[in-house]
Amino acid sequence: MPNKPYEIKSTDSLLRRIPLKPSHIFQGSITSACFKTKPGEVGLSVDIEALINRISESYNQETHTLSRLSAALPMELGYECKHDPVDGNFAHALIIGDTNPIAKRLALAAQPIDPNAISNF
């Protein structure tokens, strides 16, 4: 795994964990609440799929499911996506800025990943 900063491209996929308790998915759609930054946050945390070795190890399947989002969407909406490695998670990245105005767009585009499919990764 290279340790130099990764430049996120529009073709990259971004992953965000979605809590299962309580459920945040209604009729297959993720609530926009998952994609809204809190006041004071620099941006919305995601992981860059290309930098993850095993997706199934990137989250706790008992408490979360995973959603996949194309980096192209926030970029098209004028948001910078920046690699932001943190301790224990080199794949961590941020969608920079207040994502409240675009949260529903992100939620609509994000696809929950089937846990059964994940176990095969």
Binding site: P22, T31, S32, A33, K36, K38, P39
Partner: protein, 155 residues
């Protein structure tokens, strides 16, 4: 914006009521009563579901989403309870109710447009509307009294 949205719903409700009344007679009266009763049952079921979900939110601790989300504030839960009752009394079908990462509560429903009501941890309430592509059209701060007023008008 909130006036337009609720009034649109009111027009729809009236149209349905008028259509139901055209046939007249005993059968129509029973049908109306049956629809009204079903509506009340649906409202009670919806209210019970929302209230039990809000109770579930009370248990959330710091970092409940794995991204350092805040626990829900008592004020947000209290106001959310009231908002839910007003919306349900106005026959708004709440599609989803979610905890917000800042310690608030969010309601999602459709009144011809996708709508959200955000109840923030300090008690501030916002009414949001979206277009079909989920673009934010409007976000305005509203009060509990405004929701109650418009809910009553929508009946």
């Amino acid at each position: 914006m909130i006036e337009e949205i609720f009034n649109k719903d009111k027009t729809t409700t009236k149209a349905i009521t008028q259509t139901g009344g055209k046939s007249g007679g005993v059968e129509s009266t029973w049908r109306k009563r049956s629809i009204a009763l079903q509506g009340k049952i649906d409202s009670l079921v919806q209210q019970k579901n929302i209230l039990s979900r809000l109770e579930e939110f009370q248990k959330l601790e710091q970092n409940w989403d794995g991204y350092n989300a805040d626990p829900l504030s008592n004020k947000a839960l209290e106001f959310a309870n009231t908002v839910a009752k007003y919306l349900i009394s106005a026959k708004v079908k709440i599609d989803f109710c979610a905890p917000m990462r800042n310690g608030g509560v969010q309601f999602e429903f459709n009144l011809g447009k996708e709508c959200e009501v955000e109840v923030h941890p300090n008690g501030d309430i916002y009414f949001l509307t979206y277009d079909e592509a989920a673009n934010l059209l409007n976000k305005e701060r509203i009060t509990l009294e405004q929701i109650q007023k418009h809910a009553k008008q929508a009946l």
